[in-house]
Amino acid sequence: MFIKCILALFLFASLGQTAEKLKIGLVLDKGGKEDKSFNSAAYQGASLAEKELGIELKYVEATDVNSIENLHRQFAKKKFDLVIGIGFAQQDAVKKVAVQNPDTKFVIVDGEVSASNVRSLMFEEHQGSFLVGYLAAMKSKTKKVGYIGGMDIPLIRRFAVGFEAGVKHFDKSFTILENYIGITADSWNNPAKAKELALNQYQQGADIIFVAAGASNSGVFDAAEEKKKLVIGVDSNQNWMKPGFILTSMLKRVDQGVYATIKDLKEGKFTSGTVRYGLKDKGIDYAMDKYNEKLVTAADVKKLDAIKADIISGKIVVPDFYLMKKK
């Protein structure tokens, strides 16, 4: 009885405070908020919304595969207005829970779910990968570049195919080394293995590596510093992590997508369906800042921007792994 009284007080207190605020739940992937890459980007977008739009944000990380569905369910049960699932692994959970909770809105990043209360955010990763591939080829002296992916899944293959096309667009005679860290979700969080692969690729003569592996990226950055070589980061702007060794970062603006969705909801403009972000709307881009301005010159930027314009106008068609698979 005593416990119940306390709980009742708690509930009243929280209800009183947040009656008007939108409640947003964020379910992060296994890499976690501190991966400085994919999940970090999502968290930044949501916390920016918390600051600027005055929403109430609650984020959680999944403990195991079966708990993802539980987390979505609990958020829905607590009458959250919007639940954001970060990463393809949550697609099934969102599909299941969204149907049963028509009053709650859901967002899934990197996966597609068609339901009247779900918005799917997809990013054109291959376009950005093409761009950084072209840059890597311009900067490489050994005519050999490397790609390290996190988990070996179609999404990460999509980065690889785009990157390869970008390199070959510059010069067909380039060699591209390609490695994946593993096939489980732990691949996003295994910097030691990532470093090993990177050292190996540098050993084989690659002088620039593009890495798309979540929290594992830091291992590759360490290897680059050790071998005095270059590396390209992914998702968030990672240039600051090892200044002088990170050529650029391919930006996948999950933060922008998350922020825009929350804003839409706040303004009553939430729509279901798939929203695609690409080079056109800067949802995909490459990062330039004070940390890499010495590595990438103004002339390089000019060339890159020309390529970018060509991709946007459709003059250059970047191969898309998703479409290749369907054929």
Binding site: I6, V60, N66, S67, D152, I153, P154, L155, T184
Partner: protein, 357 residues
């Protein structure tokens, strides 16, 4: 029951630690209770975790009884799960009653094989079972990764998982337990787990085989002199251990999802070690402790949602505190201090020459 006070003490300490994080202990307790009993779905998910933990707890404790430390329950459940999925996808044509029997047989056999390997190596080559079972965990993880990535990847999904096996291989269409808890993953294997625990209780208390197994665990050379082959029982107990662990694989594959998902087990095999230790290897105590561990495991994600500071990592601290409490009680018991409701709180038992109670 012996470790009940230890449990309460551990829980008390854990809740006090929560104060440091600025949360009300009563509120945390309330969330934990609500998270496991709050709705049919919540209760069902807790029972689902509990099912796997009973199986792995029994697996670890069976090895303990004969003096072996089986760290390989994780690998055993993994191996049997992948074997069942490979079997069901290779022979999709088998019809109902046979199909279910066959897949269960495959599960049991594969668990037995994965237990027999360390058993035989230990008995006839003297390899330490801790090292072997631990290494076999990696081997079975490698095998399942190979099948999922190279042979069986579900074409409709980016997740590393197999396609869903045919309905004839699954229990869900006649699963009465699952119908009681709609949407939740709990299934018939919960009943099987309880029955297995009861069976193991009778096995160790009422059968000659069980008695001999304990005798080998207590003192192998004395058992040898009483014409009990310790080698034989090392193998038998690890095989039995593997079979019990395979139940956790069946719970997932046959009972619930019908597919192998990489990462489906949040290390049930290792949580099973804690369950077995907490219950002092008593098969019926395992049921109770599996429930406690599953409440904490389920509660971890709910605490994360409901509170500001108790993240899933903090929940691990709470679990550890409870474990410490139980361990402390065990330690005190061993040195003759017992707590009892009826005879006053502190009562020191007389020790015999060997230091045992």
């Amino acid at each position: 029951m012996k470790s009940f006070f230890g449990f309460l003490f551990g829980l008390f300490c854990a809740l006090m630690i929560v104060l440091l994080a600025g949360e009300s202990p009563l509120y945390i307790l309330e969330i934990l209770v609500r998270s496991s009993f709050g709705s049919k779905y919540d209760f069902g998910l807790t029972l689902f975790y509990m099912t796997s933990l009973i199986f792995t707890g029994l697996s670890v404790s069976t090895a303990f009884k004969s003096g072996l430390f089986n760290i390989g329950a994780e690998g055993q459940l993994n191996f049997s799960a992948i074997c069942m999925v490979v079997f069901a996808t290779s022979y999709p044509g088998i019809t109902f009653p046979g199909s279910l029997l066959m897949i269960l047989l495959v599960g049991i056999l594969s668990g037995a094989i994965w237990g027999a390997i360390p058993g035989l190596l230990k008995a006839y080559r003297g390899s330490h079972e801790v090292i072997v079972t631990m290494m076999l965990n990696f081997v079975s993880a490698g095998i399942s990764s190979y099948f999922i990535s190279q042979k069986l990847q579900n074409p409709d999904s980016q997740n590393p998982e197999s396609p869903i096996i045919g309905d004839a291989f699954r229990t869900n269409f006649f699963d009465f337990l699952n119908k009681l808890f709609p949407e939740s993953p709990v299934n018939l294997f919960f009943v099987v787990a309880i029955l297995a625990a009861v069976a193991m209780y009778f096995f160790f208390t009422k059968t000659a085989l069980g008695y001999e197994m304990i005798a080998v665990g207590e003192n192998p050379s004395a058992a040898e002199r009483a014409s009990i082959s310790s080698k034989k029982f090392v193998v038998i107990s690890l095989v039995l251990s593997g079979v019990l662990a395979s139940g956790a694989g069946m719970n997932e594959v046959v009972g619930y999802s019908g597919q192998y998902k990489i990462g489906f087990s949040p290390e049930f095999g290792f949580m099973g070690i804690a369950v077995a230790l907490m219950s002092n290897n008593h098969p019926l105590g395992i049921i109770a402790n599996a429930f406690i561990m599953s409440v904490f495991h389920k509660g971890a994600s709910d605490l994360d949602i409901e509170t500001e500071t108790i993240t899933k990592d903090f929940s691990k601290i709470i679990q550890a505190m409870v474990l410490f409490g139980v361990g402390l009680q065990y330690y005190l018991n061993k040195y003759g201090v017992t707590f009892s409701f009826f005879n006053g709180f502190f009562k020191k038992k007389k020790l015999n020459s060997s230091g045992r109670v």
